[in-house]
Amino acid sequence: MNIFIYPSNSLILYDLVERFGHKPLAVMQEIRKKVTTAGIDSPPLNITPEDPKHGLKYAAVEVPAGVRGRMSLFDQLIGDAEAAILVEDAPIGFGCMGCQRTSELIGFLIRAKRVPILELNYPTSDDEARNFVYQISEFLNKLQGGET
């Protein structure tokens, strides 16, 4: 299944989802598509002023252009998500969405999809870390198509 992860550039979450036989949906994939698109020269991410306009699908013009530009990147990921793992209060090194307003909107949109969601707080001790991985493995194993 397609598993949306939050923070969406978390390599640890990405790896865990892959290990349990699912397909992680991460923002790196969308950025890769952008930067490898031939013919567009808008460094560093090849996001052009047209992209924030695509973000109008999710947020009106009174919302900052940076939020809408980010939302244009997440459009495909939100659309493809069949389940999600959301980790709150994670340190920046675990994964970073950059803009808190974008994070709030993405969290809402994923929850509104009514797909299976596992919401966790970032672990702060060894025991919590073990339990953190255990909960993720349980969640992923119960999903259709995961490895058991």
């Binding site: 020269d41 808008s42 460094p43 560093p44 991410l45 996001i47 052009t48 002023p49 047209e50 992209d51 924030p52 306009k53 009174e62 919302v63 900052p64 252009a65 940076g66 939020v67 809408r68 530009g69 980010r70 990147l73 340190p91 920046i92 090194g93 970073c96 969405m97 950059g98 803009c99 808190q100 307003r101």
Partner: protein
């Protein structure tokens, strides 16, 4: 001098799609954008060190980058701060970082809030002013006009020219801007004629304003300079406040400038240009509706009471509608004129002066400073000393002629 390095401290420019525009504007004025390198630890420590807690990680990164510049871990000649337009948290961080950089590093700094529609052209004047302050301090230190020089200010509404000799204005020309080139020729001819000087005798020419690049080529100008720098110099020169602090406010036909000045050199400045309701154009339309010449509007306003008029909108269209409604209810023309002046002053105060450090004296310049009701309204709002220097309407031309004299000696 080597290429000017401008440290960019920003959030969202790459996702807004305008990073290329920022870099293009810098490149056009001989500058290069650099990004302060930061370790993850520094980002996590930045909030506590700076004393401002924010939720967005990219804003934490901004704080860390600002600290890096101030502490000297990043070497830069100037700083550009940017966040997305309409982001409240971003605006708070942008303003506090600008103050922090200005106070702690002394580096020239500008800030901007962008949308996806921001272009290099929009940023060019600001970036030009930023790099000028960084690389031309010796020129900006000039306090006396020497030799025989001319200055031309090609504004959006009017074109002004002056001829100066040995620290005195010999003559000036002030014409409405139609064709940029013809208007400049016309204004300069008038200035030369009034001075009794032949054009060939002019030793150096400086140009500023929107048409400066075109005029720079056609007049073979020695100085082609944006209005922020030129107006700052011109204002403190004409007001005889060349030493110390001052705040220069120029309500123009197309945009407004508010500049915090130290010893004649611009520090923090803002350029507004989003709403015509805060421009000289609004006062022009008001004068037209009241059936008076624009030169009479100021005196009319001084005899009025702005508080008697209800202004429901800052928009130029709805603002005029409010004035028309008041007139239809029998309001006095004097009160309407005063309300119009107060409305413009209030908008400049609310939208721009919050972003600069307002320090006395306030020097109002540009054609609108001659509309007496406007400096009066600004004085009422700020409760501060407001100076309108002689020849305030010629500020850009005088500043250009003053700075151009630096090229005679060079």
């Amino acid at each position: 001098m080597n290429e000017i390095e401008v440290a960019q401290i920003s959030c969202g420019s790459e996702y807004t799609g305008v990073q290329g525009e920022i870099e293009s504007a810098a490149e056009q004025v001989g500058a290069k954008i650099i990004f302060p390198d930061i370790d993850l630890d520094e980002v996590e420590e930045a909030e506590a060190k700076f004393g401002l807690k924010v939720t967005s990680p990219d804003l934490k990164l901004m704080l860390a980058r600002a600290i890096s510049v101030v502490e000297g871990h990043t070497t830069a000649d100037a700083v550009f701060i940017g966040t997305c337009f309409r982001c409240a948290e971003g605006a708070l961080v942008r303003n506090e970082i600008r103050r922090y950089i200005h106070e702690k590093s002394g580096l020239p700094v500008i800030s901007y809030s962008y949308t996806e529609r921001t272009t290099a052209e929009t940023l060019l004047t600001r970036m030009e002013a930023l790099t000028t302050v960084a690389k031309r301090r010796s020129l900006l230190a000039r306090e006396v006009q020497t030799g025989l020089t001319a200055g031309i200010d090609s504004g959006s509404t009017t074109t002004k020219a002056v001829v100066m000799k040995d620290d005195e204005i010999l003559g000036f020309g002030w014409v409405g801007t139609t064709d940029v080139q013809k208007s400049a020729e016309n204004a300069l001819s008038k200035a030369l004629s009034e001075s009794g000087i032949e054009r060939d005798a002019i030793q150096s020419i400086g140009v500023t304003g929107y048409g400066r690049f075109l005029l720079g080529e056609s007049f073979n100008a020695d100085l082609v300079q944006e209005e922020i720098t030129v107006n700052s110099k011109g204002a403190v020169y004409l007001a005889d406040r060349q030493k110390g602090v001052a705040t220069v406010i120029d309500v123009g036909g197309m945009d407004n400038k508010a500049i915090s000045v130290q010893d004649g050199i611009p520090g923090i400045f803002t350029m507004g240009g989003i709403c015509a309701g805060a421009s000289g154009r609004f006062l022009e339309m008001t004068a037209k509706r009241l059936g008076v010449d624009i030169t009479e509007l100021g005196k009319l306003a001084l005899a009025g009471d702005a508080s008697k008029i209800s202004m429901n909108s800052y928009c130029i269209v709805f603002g005029i509608q409010s004035l028309v409604n008041s007139l239809s209810k029998g309001a006095r023309h004097e009160d309407v004129a005063a309300a119009a002046c107060y409305s413009v002053a209030e908008q400049v105060f609310e939208q721009q002066l919050q972003e600069v450090e307002v320090k006395e004296p306030i020097i109002m310049v540009g054609g609108t400073s001659l509309i007496e009701g406007l400096p009066h309204a600004m004085h009422e709002l700020l409760q501060a000393e407001v100076i309108v220097p002689p020849y305030s309407q010629l500020i850009g031309a005088v500043g250009s002629a003053l700075l151009a004299s630096g090229f005679i000696e060079e």
